[in-house]
């Protein structure tokens, strides 16, 4: 985690065969940077036992004399570098030895390697949820934690399924990197939450650009990095335990990790982590939500062997969740839908009580990730890393009633059973710098296999992809420029059964994408960035071939096999201001222009065996999304801080000349906090009052028959108050959070269950984090 990285060095000791006379040994040599062998001037070198020290000269040379033969602890320090201590045997009378120090800037890279953090693209608009902020939100889902950031919204399906939305776009248009690996699950579905344990992360970063270049196709709207803490690099053991209890849903979570570095083999570190979470029926201000419990059990383990010139890491994680789906929202025929919509509360809500039991309908999702990564620093070429990852995602959706034809005593069979296997291999060369130029490049391949059994919805398929990218950066004094190119190839073989006949379809997609950007340091306080990128993504199988009734949505969705890849150019201009004292602000303005934007267009009414339903057909259009995010903070005095955030979005379907549906409503929030840094042994004691206002979404397409578009109009605007207090006592951090303080009754436009039920009522959460 935090820490001192006692790093080791390479010894190129040249020892002559001459034995030393007593205490007349001279130890001399250079102190150099480990990365590129540059001499370090004014570095200090000390023989600890003798308390003898000197500074290096301008060429990095040092000389220590009158040393007796023996083994000493050599301590090297430099302002730009890490502190280093090493044991050194000194025997030869003229011992020439070079010491290598790791520069801080490289340490940052080390951290990135360990956390598998991909270097940030400096010209992009970036926002992060820090470790400190995350600790105050432990136990919430990944999407909910991200929603604190301006420009990020969440798409919900009831209280326990949430997906992040970046600048109005989600699912297939966002990439999530889980510990450096592109998450490959069934992310196309709007009720398919990311299969990631948020407890593994100590930082969540959102890159709000069309930065497909580094991370893969599909990052139309942005990239979310789920980053674990860097692994411990000094001998010893440490850990952290999180305990969370919430009143709503009577939810409890426990999570912890232990990590250590072997004292015997200084390069070997390990970490094991686990999380358990359980909740029962959630409660709105007026009633319990039937069957909304959840269970989650996640584990992960890391083994890392790391030296400066090379290293290897093994990582494995398992995510396992069972999520109850609000029963009244699961519909059979058209008349069930009509009854559910006509009722102001979910059907049967008055008889629902609290329970931890999860009945049908529910989802069970298991995600395995195994990863191996090795790197080697090659002088003159930079750092070369190879990563292989295997992911297995097993998703089952159980309908409300067990299917017909299944033995009554038989197995609990899922109506939708998705299994997706993904192998990825990546070779990346990064940080090759030639003076002001820096190059990063890589190639990768993906092999993916999808099996579905149960109610036909999307076809089985095999996907093979090849990718290559290169990013070039130029660093000048106040300017930084960046340009990148990327090529993607996708081969898709899908298999469907239509009226007893097997149909195999092979499709290929390929594209070149690119981006350019610049960062300008206007003055000490103000920084401007601009990035223009062209992103691309191939239509997903659900958009090409889905055909069936969506039980939760109450609509028939039909794919179109003739869809072509969608492409978008996203331009972001962002300003960061920090006066170093009281005021801090971020503003980003963006415009996203799409060609062949894939969306679901109302296509009239479809008569099915379950009655008549609105038909939604995947169609392509020209679309324009324009918006702005702002985030400000002002320190009123030593103890009081004000924060404000806001986001605005206007999404337009150019072809149809109407707004795009299901876009997040504009919103703003404010918070006032009072902090006492020290109060006896209590540190960072704070009280924070927050207020969020979400406007009504008025930008929806007009239709003479509104039900062909959406079952109900968007819900009215709402305001929520929240309260948070916390303090830390030594290794113990305590906090109390109250969400929806006034127990307001409201519904959100982007909750797919807004047709049936209110959002959650007041929720009181108590958190304790203990570090050891």
């Amino acid at each position: 985690m935090k820490g001192i990285y006692s790093l080791l060095l390479l010894a190129f000791g040249l020892t002559s065969g001459v034995w030393a006379q007593d205490c007349q040994i001279t130890l001399s040599g250079q102190i150099l940077t480990s990365e590129d062998n540059k001499p370090l001037a004014y570095a200090s070198i000390q023989i600890k036992e003798l308390n003898q020290s000197v500074l290096t000269d301008s060429t990095g040379r040092y000389e220590l004399d009158h040393i007796c033969p023996g083994t000493y602890t050599i301590v090297c320090d430099h302002v730009m570098c890490d502190h280093m201590e090493i044991m050194k045997e000194v025997i030869a009378p003229q011992t020439e030895h070079n010491f290598y120090l790791e520069a801080h800037i490289h340490r940052v890279q080390e951290v990135e390697i360990l956390g598998e953090k991909v270097p940030e693209v400096p010209t992009q608009a970036v926002a992060s949820v820090t470790a400190k902020e995350l600790d105050l939100m432990r136990g919430v889902q990944l999407g909910d934690a991200l929603a604190k950031l301006p420009g990020i919204n969440i798409l919900k399906t009831g209280p326990s399924i949430s997906k992040p939305i970046i600048h109005g776009l989600h699912s297939n248009r966002i990439l999530i990197l889980n510990n450096g690996i592109r998450q490959e699950g069934q992310q196309w579905g709007s009720e398919h939450a990311p299969e990631i344990d948020p407890f593994i992360a100590t930082q969540l970063t959102v890159i709000k650009g069309s930065n497909s270049l580094r991370y893969g196709p599909g990052a139309m709207a942005g990239v979310i990095l789920v980053e674990p803490a860097p692994i411990r690099l000094e001998p010893g053991i440490e850990g952290k335990l999180h305990l969370v209890g919430s009143s709503n849903g009577r939810q409890g979570a426990i999570s912890g990790h232990i990590e250590g570095r072997s004292a015997k083999d200084e390069a070997l570190s390990w970490r094991v982590q686990g999380t358990g979470r359980r909740g029962g029926n959630f409660h709105t201000p007026d009633y319990y939500l039937e069957n909304t419990g959840l269970q989650e059990f996640n584990t992960s383990a890391t083994l890392s062997y790391k030296k400066i010139p090379h290293g290897l890491e093994l990582y494995y994680s398992r995510f396992d969740s069972k999520i109850g789906i609000l029963s009244p929202a699961h519909l059979g025929g058209a008349s069930d839908l009509e009854r559910a919509l006509a009722s102001p509360t979910p059907l049967g809500a008055d008889t629902v009580d609290f329970t931890y039991d999860i009945a049908r309908p529910y989802q069970r999702v298991i995600h395995h990730l195994a990863k191996m990564r090795g790197y080697k620093r090659v002088p003159g070429l930079g750092k070369i890393s190879a990563t292989y990852a295997f992911q297995y995602n097993y998703r089952r959706e159980f309908d409300k009633h067990r299917p017909r034809g299944v033995d009554r005593d038989g197995k609990d069979k899922a109506e939708l059973d998705f299994q997706i296997y993904t192998h990825t291999l990546e070779l990346v060369m990064e940080g090759t710098s030639h003076q002001k130029w820096e190059t990063t490049g890589g190639v990768s391949g993906i092999y993916q296999n999808n099996f579905l059994t149960g109610r036909p919805f999307i076809p089985n398929y095999v996907l093979i992809g090849g990718e290559a990218f290169v990013i070039e950066r130029l660093n000048l004094d106040n300017w930084e420029f960046e340009a990148g190119l990327r090529y993607d190839y996708r081969w898709l073989n899908s298999a469907r059964e239509i009226r007893g006949i097997d149909i195999f379809t092979i499709q290929t997609f390929q594209n070149v994408s690119g981006s350019i950007g610049a960062l300008y340091q206007i003055n000490k306080q103000l920084q401007a960035r601009i990035n223009i990128g062209r992103g691309w993504r191939a239509p997903h199988v659900n958009e090409l071939y889905s055909d069936g009734l969506h039980h939760g949505a109450g609509a028939v969705e039909r794919g179109d096999s003739t869809l072509v890849p969608e492409a978008g150019i996203k331009s972001i201009l962002s300003f960061t201001y920090n006066d170093g004292d009281k005021f801090q602000g971020d503003l980003s303005i963006y415009h996203h222009s799409f060609q062949n934007f894939i969306y679901k267009k109302p296509g009239g009414i479809d008569r099915t065996i379950r009655g008549t339903f609105p038909l939604l057909i995947y169609t392509q259009t020209q679309a324009q999304l324009t918006g702005a995010d702002i985030s400000l903070s002002y320190q009123l005095n030593e103890r009081i801080q004000w924060e404000g955030k806001g986001s605005y979005l206007r999404a337009w379907n150019v072809t149809e000349d109407e707004p795009l549906v299901f876009m997040p409503a504009n919103r703003f929030s404010q918070a006032l906090s009072y902090t006492i840094e020290e109060m006896g042994s209590w540190k960072n004691t704070f009280l924070k009052v927050s207020f969020q206002h979400v406007l009504e979404q008025k930008n929806i397409p007009f239709d003479e028959n509104p039900e062909a578009r959406d079952w109900l109009p968007p819900p009215p605007a709402y305001s929520l108050w929240g309260l948070q207090a916390g303090s830390s006592l030594g290794p113990l951090e305590l906090s109390l959070t109250i969400d929806n303080l006034l127990n307001i009754r409201y519904r959100d436009y982007l909750n797919r269950f807004r047709y049936y039920a209110d959002e959650l009522g007041r929720n009181i959460t108590l958190r304790a984090n203990f570090s050891f």
């Binding site: 062997y305 059979g332 579905l452 149960g454 379950r610 009655g611």
Partner: protein, 170 residues
């Protein structure tokens, strides 16, 4: 270096396990769950046989005025035309979980009564239809799936089938 080779061995093991896991044939189309695509109503007393098929226009049931019919309903899965499955037998086997409802609307002078029973409640696979004067209207036939909640009413459970018919009494 010894450690490195251990790592590599571990890695190879991991990779081969994961490949084994994916070694099933990827090109099998998905297996379909049993669905109902077709509803067939057969009337006695020289009455008609009317078929509702998914994707086809609303069929019309034409009955004589002032006549009583006995009728039976069949549910078929014709997803694969070479392998038509009769789902009716399954429904009968699970008759305590199913109820067929007949909702007449639009002024058709037709009354439908269920004549079969699961021992406690009606099922609705066998019915008696009585017409009076000539008229027209609509009928919605619902197969309600009511596991554990069947109480004789059409409100509980959910619809496995909602098929619409035009009704003509002449």
């Amino acid at each position: 270096m010894k450690l490195t080779s251990t790592f590599i061995k571990l890695f190879l093991l991991l990779a081969s396990i994961s490949f084994l896991m994916t070694s099933c044939n990827p090109e099998d189309p998905q297996g379909g769950e049993e669905e109902i695509t077709t509803v067939v109503l057969t009337f006695s007393n020289n009455g008609p046989t009317v078929t509702w098929k998914e994707g086809e226009p609303t069929p019309t049931i034409t009955l004589d005025a002032n006549t009583a019919y006995t009728a039976s309903v069949e549910f078929l899965n014709e997803e694969d035309p070479n392998d038509v499955e009769d789902v009716t037998a399954e429904i009968r086997a699970e008759d305590d979980e199913h109820l067929v409802c007949y909702e007449v609307s639009g002024g058709a002078n037709v009354t439908v009564n269920r004549t079969d029973s699961d021992g406690t409640f009606e099922i609705g696979l066998a019915t008696e239809w009585t017409t009076t004067d000539a008229s027209t209207g609509q009928l919605i036939l619902k197969l309600r799936h009511q596991p554990g909640v069947k109480d004789g009413s059409c409100d509980v459970g959910e619809s496995d089938v909602e098929a619409d018919f035009n009704l003509t009494v002449q």
